[in-house]
């Protein structure tokens, strides 16, 4: 019996039982009330009360059994789990009906059950984070058992090379020491593309924000802001296509015009397109921050005879600096983790260079390529994706934390 079928059968059995429990519980409460005894809660609340008695223990048994078998502690057969849960459901129903008495506070009990249900939904976010950390760290540890951390951090040669033979089950054909996992060239590529993206996004985004919040009329702002936000809604795969098909040839042509030799997977093109993608993040965050600067600061500056632009440059921007930095950091974190644009437009050759017209590869490109082949899951190349992912996760997490901290400090100062 498949796990899907078991779940379906369990639900199919519990639904009529639940209906029955509701009718019986409410019926008992109505009967009691008809005999002139006043009950603490409304009749339907007693109905739901017996539904909870019936359903919760049964579902608990089923979920516990599922977890136990997933983590390999014991693996009870699915038929057994199904039967035990149904028996528990019937017992629970009997107990729930027996428990209905005038002094039982069904309403409060229901509220408590609901509170716990809601809390467990909220805890799923924590579970997600914990499982991200655990799964990535666990797989990364397996990688670092084969490749030393030192080599990974400081090595300048990334060439998983012949590990694909090993992955294909022909490991014995491979000589020792043919693959290198020095991640420096990958991170160099990632930082290069991030730097180009931020050099594009920061001036355009910040200046647009200044125009929208300081110079634009209400109507102009009402048009400009949503238009800029169109850029944030475009899927990254579309940006990737734009970079690869349109921007890259233009850059190669321009470079050729100046007598330079640009690669057809140069890092400049994905960098610029990524910058375009980040413009709305920078502009809308900076716009919010500039708008929340108190009018009194501006008026004080005007009273001293400064022009509008001097007010902006000398008073408003310094005051808004934490917010702008925070927007910048969020943009950086976006750029570091961006995948599709670089997968489609950047190269796959690890290359340590300062020249943005050459092809470089990035961390995310390598995560994608090491997980899309037909590789065995425990080959070092596959596992290297998790090591790279771990670094990426930690760096973006730190950037986000610093950025939220800066915004909170800024808000406290001016609110």
């Amino acid at each position: 019996m498949g796990i899907g079928l078991t779940t379906l059968l369990l639900l199919a059995a519990l639904t009529p039982l639940g209906y029955l429990a509701f009718r019986l519980g409410r019926g008992k409460a109505l009967q009691t009330m008809a005999s002139g005894i006043s009950m603490h809660s409304r009749p339907q609340q007693y109905g739901w009360y017996s539904v909870v008695w019936m359903g919760l223990p049964a579902l608990g048994v089923a979920i516990a059994a599922a977890l136990l078998s997933v983590f390999g502690v014991i693996a009870p057969s699915r038929e057994l789990v199904l039967i035990v849960s149904l028996v528990v459901a019937v017992l629970g129903l009997a107990q729930g009906l027996r428990a209905i008495r005038p002094e039982v506070r069904a309403r409060n009990a229901l509220d408590n059950v609901i509170r716990w249900l809601l809390l467990s939904a909220a805890l799923i976010s924590i579970i997600t984070t914990v499982s991200i950390v655990l799964s990535i760290v666990f797989e990364a540890m397996r990688f670092f058992r084969e490749v030393s951390v030192w080599e990974f951090v400081t090595g300048t040669v990334w060439s998983p090379g012949d590990t694909f033979l090993e992955a294909a089950g022909r490991g014995d054909e491979v000589g020792e020491g043919t693959s290198f996992f020095g991640s420096v060239p990958l991170f160099a590529g990632t930082f290069m593309v991030t730097a180009i993206a931020m050099a594009t996004a920061l001036p355009i985004g910040l200046l647009s924000a200044i125009f929208m919040s300081e110079y634009a009329t209400r109507a102009q702002r009402g048009i400009a802001k949503p238009l800029l936000e169109i850029l944030a809604g475009i899927p990254t795969v579309v940006y990737g296509f734009f970079a690869a098909i349109t921007v890259t040839p233009i850059i190669v042509d321009i470079a050729a015009f100046f007598g330079l030799d640009a690669s057809y997977s140069n890092i400049l093109s994905p960098g610029i397109v990524m910058g375009i993608m980040i413009i709305p993040f920078i502009s809308s965050l900076s716009d919010d921050v500039i708008n929340s600067i108190p009018q009194s600061l501006r008026e004080g500056a005007y009273a001293l005879g400064t022009t509008h632009s001097e007010t902006i440059k000398k008073v408003i921007l310094p005051a808004a600096l934490p917010g702008v930095i925070s927007a910048f950091l969020l943009g950086v974190s976006r750029a570091l983790g961006e995948t599709m644009i670089v997968v489609m437009a950047a190269g796959v050759r690890p290359n340590l260079t300062w020249n943005p017209l050459e092809d470089m590869t990035t961390v995310t490109v390598n995560i994608v390529y090491s997980l899309t082949g037909d590789l065995a899951f425990d080959s070092p190349q596959t596992l290297s994706a998790f090591a790279l992912g771990l670094v990426l996760f930690i760096v973006t997490l730190l950037l986000n934390l610093v950025s939220t901290y800066l915004v909170r400090r800024f808000k406290q100062k001016y609110d």
Binding site: V70, I124, I136, F211, S309, E310, M340, T372
Partner: protein
């Protein structure tokens, strides 16, 4: 000579300052216009590359269902047209005869799609050898080649032959994935938001959950792909490439977005409404269920639609969980291998053949149209039902 201190318009220093003022303003306007120019260039580029894929050339041929064509479809086509007719159309001929035995031995005139390179030539995108080119031109002049709307692009799945490739199976895949995402993320997200906004005491646990949700919203999407691979596929044994694993992965990614927007919607309901309900003797859950939730529903739906639109455009995590398989037939359940629209775009974009470029751009146009519709719906909902208190 003493310079006057009072600012006059003729004062060179003041004039310099005014010049600097207008220069700065010009910079900021320029920045905005650069951004607009990029948007315009971007959309023009995509449309000019993609719109031609919505049309395709067809050729009128007399199909001869003779004996040899029952095994090899080529023989049903007049010899001089064999290079022009799409190989996909040719290949289906034996199957046609097998399904309709009465066809055997007859001839029939029909419009069939042409080979993708001919199609590209007719659209002015590719060159052909001169002999072939003049033959095609002649056929076109005779009216034997026509251009029709490419319905097949919407009704057929992926194909290795560009003239037959369509987005149908990817669209079905996207729909299945979004359904899983919605079923998973919507209830959990709304419940979590209700807890945090209406029930949670202000303690360490609540703060931890809040910080956590904000951080999750900013984790790069590819990390969610790694999570989906390690947890759903390797630990729980969910089938790789299936809509189920894709939907769950995107669900985890969309969860923080839904939670954050639902909390904002709940917060927008003013406290007197809650207090009034409490005063009538409602329990906390009754207050939420009967008063707060109905009032905040439009806001919650808006946030959910925006979250789904974001999930719909996502590619990277789905690639990691294997959703870039070649899927010619639309999946029929969430356990089958599937692909999604953005992943289809990615697959076509990595095809070296030139005819796939317009397919890619056309796929992008469809994707953008769907996303635009979703976002417009969200904006409409907000405008229509938003209440100012």
């Amino acid at each position: 000579m003493q310079r006057r201190l009072t600012g006059s318009a003729n004062d060179p220093l003041i004039r310099a300052r005014y010049r600097r003022e207008s220069r700065f303003k010009a910079y900021s306007i320029t920045a905005l216009f650069v951004a607009f120019a990029i948007i315009v260039a971007f959309f023009t580029d995509i449309f000019s590359q993609g719109y031609s894929a919505f049309w395709r050339a067809e050729i009128e041929v007399t199909l001869d269902y003779n004996e040899r064509a029952e095994r090899i479809g080529r023989f049903a086509i007049p010899e001089d047209l064999r290079e022009i007719v799409s190989r996909g159309a040719v290949r289906s001929i034996p199957l046609q005869i097998r399904n309709n035995p009465e066809l055997a031995g007859t001839t029939r005139t029909d419009w069939v799609p042409v080979y993708s390179r001919i199609d590209q030539y007719l659209k002015g995108k590719e060159e052909l050898p001169p002999a072939l080119a003049s033959q095609v031109d002649a056929l076109k002049a005779e009216g034997l080649i026509r251009t029709t709307f490419n319905w097949a692009f919407f009704t057929s799945g992926d194909s290795k032959l560009p003239e037959l490739a369509g987005i149908f199976s990817a669209a079905v895949g996207s729909l299945l994935v979004l359904a899983v995402t919605l079923v998973f993320a919507f209830p959990i997200g709304v419940m979590a938001a209700i807890y945090l906004e209406e029930f949670a005491p202000d303690n360490k646990l609540t703060q931890a959950i809040e910080v956590n949700i904000n951080n999750l919203a900013a984790v790069p999407s590819i990390i969610f792909g790694l999570l989906g691979l390690a947890v759903f596929i390797n630990t729980f044994g969910v089938p790789r490439s299936s809509a189920l694993v894709g939907g769950l992965t995107l669900g985890l990614m969309t969860l923080p977005i839904i939670i954050i927007s639902t909390r904002a919607a709940l917060r927008a309901v003013p406290d007197p409404i809650r207090l009034g309900a409490f005063a009538m003797g409602c329990s906390r859950w009754q207050v939420v269920r009967d008063h707060v939730l109905p009032l905040s529903l439009p806001g919650i739906l808006t946030g959910t639609i925006i979250g789904l639109a974001q999930a719909m455009g996502e590619t990277a995590p789905l690639i990691i969980v294997g959703m870039i398989a070649y899927i010619p037939e639309a999946p029929t359940s969430i356990f089958e291998s599937a692909t999604v629209l953005p992943a289809q775009v990615f697959t076509w974009a990595s095809e070296p053949r030139k005819a796939f470029v317009e397919k890619t751009a056309a796929g992008i146009i469809v994707l953008l149209a769907i996303l635009l519709t979703l976002n417009a719906t969200a904006v409409f909902l907000r405008r229509r039902f938003e209440r100012r208190w």
